[in-house]
Amino acid sequence: MKIFVTYLAAFVVWLLLTWSLDPQEVLAGLAVAALSTYLTRDILVELPPSRPFHPKRYIWFLYYIPVFFWHMLRANLDVAYRVLHPEVPIRPGIVKVRTNLKREISKTMLANSITLTPGTLTVDVVGDFLYVHWINVSTHDPEEQTRIIVSRFERILKEVFE
């Protein structure tokens, strides 16, 4: 099942990239999609354990996109403020936060979301813990740090991927 989904996705990306329905292009695409699916068979993303095609997942994902872009825009204005300010106001440090997400794919998406949002950059993921470089450490309380850094996306990603 997951192999079929990957194959289909690879083929659709090929069609979009070539943007033509010429039989030669389509045949080449079928072959290339098969090859790339075969080469990545060991690292394919597993489908969610229960109800992988439930519409609720996709609705939550649609909600995730604007939330993500809003935080990303804020992140950029934040960086712009810090680098243009004459004194470069930063208080960096690496903090450790805990996540409730269990699947690899949701942890990956959480780490990527954290990296693109204001002032934080994921350095490593070990088990349930994320090590996050924070450009302006505002509190030393781990609970509070987890609330600020992780919970923005954790709830949405839980609905989408778990």
Binding site: L17, A75, R82, I94, D124, V126
Partner: protein
Amino acid sequence: MSEIGLVLISVGVVFDLFGCIGLVRLPDIYNRLQAATKCVTLGTCMILIGVAFYTGLDAIGVKAIICAVFILLTSPTGAHALARGSHRSGVPLWEGSVGDKYREDKEGGEVHEEA
């Protein structure tokens, strides 16, 4: 439509510029990665989406949108690999930093042993 595209491209270039200023002004590799990743990802995505608006939904526009999605997925992953790699090969944090949990935990080694 092409006006929207030009505006997006201009704003994207400005964000890319902020990212480059950050690369020069911030003190250590981790802070620089922050600036480089965030600004360059959004800036470049805006340039690509601007191209898509400018040309419309043809071969070039669709390629630009696919590139934007790829950058959104790969750029934070690359930053993550760079930060982890530098920490593991001993690049120190800036002396003004307020703590390094990652070093205290021996790069996650202790958690690994617990688990």
